[in-house]
């Protein structure tokens, strides 16, 4: 250990001189040569401080590549403010600020503006969500109630997956991977015709099933395939995008699912910083849980957002959205559960306005209000106030007070089993949230962010007895508080360290004289977790990334664990990359969730060719 520290100190002295030489050398290049340089995307951390008054972490496409993530949930592990637990081969429990469960219903997840969740459970089936990770531009992870721009169900956070524009993914890409548990193949082709940039992609995956800690098989081997396209074009101040995807998957344990979607977006620059964005999409998803239920869900969505030009101190944004769901469920009586009525049309609309007021050149006050209406509880009012203070060019303070709401889903109201039933009077869960944050860049190569949060909950979902039979009611309340902190340090141009920690404290209450049937069902949260990542550029061709994470114990007898993943990437030629990913290097096996699979040490090799 001491030798490592000595080497670090010596290298630190050499650093300053090295930086000067690099700058001078770049200035000897021609304009054409400078245009061709691919800049390190690590520089994202070194730019002037983000002035977003929210707890936001951005996972870049380069971070995803270097981490070796094989799926969207694995990519989300990189965000320090997310609790990501692998349940089995295909299922994940992901949340921010607590209330994690397999169908975490307090997170809003968007892929290119399309909401990815099912109104059946107001949650996300992670097993069915996938993107071509090589074409992801960035993933914005906001913990805490998304600002006015996001809606109900963005109570604990927003995950916004943004793929690269078609113009940025030109040419062909082929990727092949094989490992102990999984095999993948993916291809993408991007081209340009008549001023329109487009890309088409397809990917397929075959996964082995995992086992419970005792050795019993979960029988969750799966196969999954997805394909789609994206086209972008621009004409003076207008930008258009059209994209579509379809996927099909099945899991041995008795689940099949498929979906198709098409989305169109039109953004118009109105001059002087104003813009208008309109988006519409349609999605059909089908899900078949053998002999339990079958569902076909059609979603129609129209969304508009208007950013007005700055008027004096004010910058206004307003917008509205219309969404219709057509949900058709086929119940199986022998399953012992049913959604009644089987067929349901649901609506969810919103209208919002937000004003960002520049009180002084360094102090902004944002006032926002959103009206959301849903088929169950009518209209909800979601106000929020945010203050953002750029104290110095490298220090930024922010505070936010918001009211967030988790509207009922079908399972809360219309789900029936002999023991527990959805309640017709189930109301929205409400959280009033106070957050304070600080973001700083104390040195050019060091940035950090700290957020303290306090969530006061009311009308939390509960299943209590008495009365019998039990129904879903809103009789719990309580408080979640904690701290999120992360830092990024780049001591050398070729070495970067990221660290993050979250501490969480939940105190939930039930009325006296009742028993909580669902104890531990709606949420399973550790007291803390921390994540470390070290990224090294070893020479021009080689990348090494080491990722360590530790989660505290979960309330239902899941012990705390520490896991180490390692990825070594080698650019054999300019456009050919070979990589080795080893997950759970230190372990012979650990569980992240219960009931859940034992996750063992696995290796995976991937070949990526860009043509």
């Amino acid at each position: 250990m001491r030798r490592t520290l000595c080497a670090l100190a010596a290298a630190a002295c050499a650093g300053a001189a090295h930086a000067a030489t690099l700058a001078a050398n770049l200035a000897d290049l021609s304009l054409e040569q400078l245009s061709n340089i691919v800049v390190s995307t690590v520089s994202g951390r070194e730019e002037p401080l983000s002035s977003a008054p929210a707890s936001i972490y951005v996972i870049t496409g380069n971070d995803i590549r270097r981490s070796g993530a094989l799926s969207l949930p694995e990519a989300l592990r990189l965000a320090p403010n997310l609790q990501v637990a692998r349940v089995d081969a295909n299922q994940w429990a992901i949340s921010a600020r607590g209330f994690n469960n397999v169908l975490a219903n307090r997170l809003l997840i968007l892929i290119d503006g399309r909401t990815v969740y099912t109104p059946l459970f107001a949650g996300t089936f992670w097993e069915a969500q996938d993107v071509l990770l090589e074409d992801v531009e960035r993933i914005e992870v906001i913990s805490g109630p998304g600002a006015t721009l996001w809606g109900a169900n963005a109570v604990n956070g927003v995950i916004n997956v943004i793929t690269k524009s078609a113009a940025a993914t030109q040419g062909a890409l082929v990727s092949l991977g094989a490992g102990d548990d999984q095999r993948d193949i993916a291809a993408r082709y991007g081209g340009e015709a008549g001023g329109i940039h487009y890309r088409v992609y397809a990917k397929a995956r075959d996964r082995d099933g995992l086992r419970l800690p005792g050795g019993a098989s979960i029988a969750d081997a799966s196969r999954f395939a997805q394909g789609g396209f994206r086209a972008d074009w621009q004409r003076s101040g207008d930008a258009f995008t059209l994209q579509a995807d379809l996927h099909d998957g099945d899991i041995d344990a008795g689940r099949d699912f498929a979906a198709a979607n098409v989305l169109g977006r039109w953004t118009r620059a109105l001059g002087e910083g104003a813009s208008l964005r309109t988006q519409a999409y349609f999605e059909r998803t089908t899900r078949d849980h053998h002999r339990t239920f079958r569902e076909t869900l059609d979603t129609y969505d129209l969304d508009l957002q208007h950013n007005l030009r700055r008027m004096g101190r004010h910058r206004l944004v307003w917008g509205f959205g219309l969404r219709y769901y057509r949900d058709r469920v086929q119940n199986f009586p022998e399953a012992g559960l049913a959604f009644l009525p089987a067929h349901r049309d649901l609506e969810r609309h919103h209208l919002f306005v937000q004003d960002e007021i520049a009180l002084t050149p360094t102090l902004d006050l944002t006032l926002g209000a959103k009206l959301e209406s849903n088929s169950y509880t009518g209209t909800e009012f979601l106000p929020n106030v945010r203050l953002a203070w750029r104290a110095t060019p490298t220090q930024f303070f922010w505070g936010a007070l918001s009211r967030a709401v988790r509207a009922p889903s079908r399972i809360d109201r219309e789900f029936f089993t002999p023991a527990v039933a959805g309640g017709p009077a189930f109301r929205s869960e409400v959280s009033d949230v106070l957050e304070i944050g600080y973001r700083a860049q104390p040195a050019p190569r060091l940035s950090l962010s700290v957020t303290g949060f306090l969530h006061e909950h009311e009308r939390l979902a509960s299943v209590l007895v008495p009365p019998v039979p039990a129904t879903f009611t809103n009789q719990r309340d309580g408080r979640t508080s904690g701290v999120e902190a992360w830092a990024s340090w780049r001591p050398r141009d070729w070495a970067r360290f990221d660290a993050g920690i979250v501490r969480l404290h939940q105190a939930l209450r039930i009325p006296p004289g009742t028993v909580d049937l669902a104890a531990g069902l709606f949420e399973r949260d550790p007291r803390q977790w921390w994540k470390l990542r070290a990224a090294f550029d070893l020479g021009e061709r080689t990348d090494l990334d080491v990722m360590v994470r530790h989660y505290g114990a979960l309330p239902n007898n899941v012990p705390d664990y520490t896991a180490l993943d390692l990825r070594l990437g080698w650019r054999a030629m300019r456009n050919v990359e070979l990589s080795l990913l080893v997950q759970n290097l230190l372990d012979r096996g650990h569980v992240e969730w219960s009931p859940g699979a034992e996750l063992e040490r696995t290796a995976y090799i991937k070949l990526r060719i860009d043509l």
């Binding site: 030798r3 670090l8 700058a23 770049l26 304009l31 070893l538 020479g539």
Partner: protein, 175 residues
């Protein structure tokens, strides 16, 4: 585990060529623009008077420029760097770089000195509409730039066609 640490120890002592950072490339670009821009003779007090670059709201690019300019000349003139504070005038500058941290100031700055032969360079989307002459864009990992030729002409700056050719976008005069 110890073997891994030892290997890292050796590696840490040996710096490797890595990809440059965005602000390093922008600083190099800014310096490399200068030979392709012609200022009217009245902008300089004397034939050997220095070319002055002002930087507002971009501490990293300022640092990079400090490493670049010593000992170099442009059009036979030495180059001098000046950090601009909020509210300070752009008088005496030939080039002004307005960084992202001060992106809202582009319009104010260009309004205060509308006729000064000042090469206003920025790095925020839409800055050309705010009055900048050159604006950096980053796309697909590469730094590019767009030029408002009408604004350059208005300020009596002449930009060589060589530089126009490398630009991602050029807004023509009389647009």
């Amino acid at each position: 585990m110890r073997a891994l640490l030892a290997t890292l120890c050796l590696l840490l002592a040996c710096p490797a060529a890595a990809q440059p950072l965005e602000h390093e490339v922008k600083a190099a670009f800014l310096f490399r623009f200068l030979p392709y821009v012609e200022w009217p003779q009245q902008s300089f007090e004397a034939p050997g008077a220095p070319l002055t670059i002002g930087v507002l709201g971009a501490p990293h690019i300022e640092d990079e420029l400090r490493h670049i300019i010593p000992g170099r000349t442009v059009h036979g003139r030495p180059v001098v760097l000046r950090q601009l504070k909020e509210g300070e005038s752009a008088r005496g500058l030939h080039v002004l770089f307005v960084g992202r941290a001060a992106s809202e100031r582009v319009r104010a700055v260009t309004r205060l000195a509308p006729w000064q032969p000042l090469l206003v360079v920025s790095e925020s989307p839409g800055a050309l509409e705010q009055g900048a002459v050159v604006n950096f864009l980053v796309a697909d990992g590469r730094v590019g730039f767009e030029i408002a030729l009408d604004e350059a002409e208005r300020r009596a700056l002449r930009i060589s066609s060589r530089m126009l050719g490398v630009a991602v976008r050029v807004r023509p005069p009389n647009s």
